[in-house]
Amino acid sequence: MTFFAVMRLELRRLFVRPLGWILAALTLVELAWRYVLLLGNFLGAQIHLAALPGGPGFTDMVSVPLFSSLLTGGMLPFGLTELALVIVPLLTMSTLAGERNNGTLSLMFGSGLSAWSIVYGKYLALLVWLLLWLLLILAMPLSLAHATTFDWGKLAAATLGMVLLLAALAAVGIACSAFTEHPPIAATASILLVLALFIMQLGAQAVGVNNGLINWLALPSHLEPLLRGLVSTTDVLWFVLLIVLALALATRRLTADKERG
């Protein structure tokens, strides 16, 4: 059994189990609702927007706000970012915790698989599923590409932000799953962890603290510039560091499990 075999097995599991399909269907319905509301707002404001030279266009008012409530506030249904904070931990919760709980993890070790091939195989399978999900969501604004003028650069930056976010959430979810035997505990830990990263800046600002370290640690301070079309090495590296850190910890934990037998 190799790394690709683990990836193929995990992908098959994701596509055969109903959980993935149900989550994808529910989120797509919710995001379609958000998309229709954003489109309605855009069409309603079009006369005023036409009078503004360099005013916001379809990408600024519909395509990118579909990704996150960070840009629209709480008046509309959740964006992709807010949904991903819950959906990704639910998908990752049983990747390693479930294997350990069923006793199949020792079987995988017994078949000669290394810890890293298990972790990275499962991680890449999840990433494939999440990228397909993102592609389906992107299809909504892209369906109007022939009828409107797109800001392709801004959409590309926002899509890069979403890819990095989904990759980081999947890595954190797998790390939480590696440290426990029970999938619900893994999901809860993962949700709490990413929620802490998401709201720590707001919490600090609420009590009047404006700390550089807290701002750097907070997820929105790295996601928001990408959604606005500003790509910075600091923001990209933050996501890459989180992914590497989470996957390294998961691999280390599994290696320790293998050594212990």
């Binding site: 392709w152 500003l230 590296l237 933050w238 560091l241 910890l249 280390r252 320790a256």
Partner: protein, 57 residues
């Protein structure tokens, strides 16, 4: 005793990883490179593309 060393080894690994990530993160804030991918450039540049604003400046 063997278990204690194994546990200590795990904690040290996590600590070193965190320190390395923190150092890289700090360096990334010191030597950052930003690129504006929007067609119009950020607000306050008079709606001109970022590259054009830079050329005119």
């Amino acid at each position: 005793m063997h278990n204690l060393f194994r546990r200590l080894d795990g904690w040290l690994f996590a600590l070193l990883l965190l320190v390395a990530a923190g150092a890289l993160g700090y360096l990334s804030t010191r030597y950052a490179h930003e690129s504006d991918w929007t067609a119009k450039g950020p607000p306050g540049r008079g709606g001109l593309p970022a590259a054009l604003s830079a050329r005119q400046a």
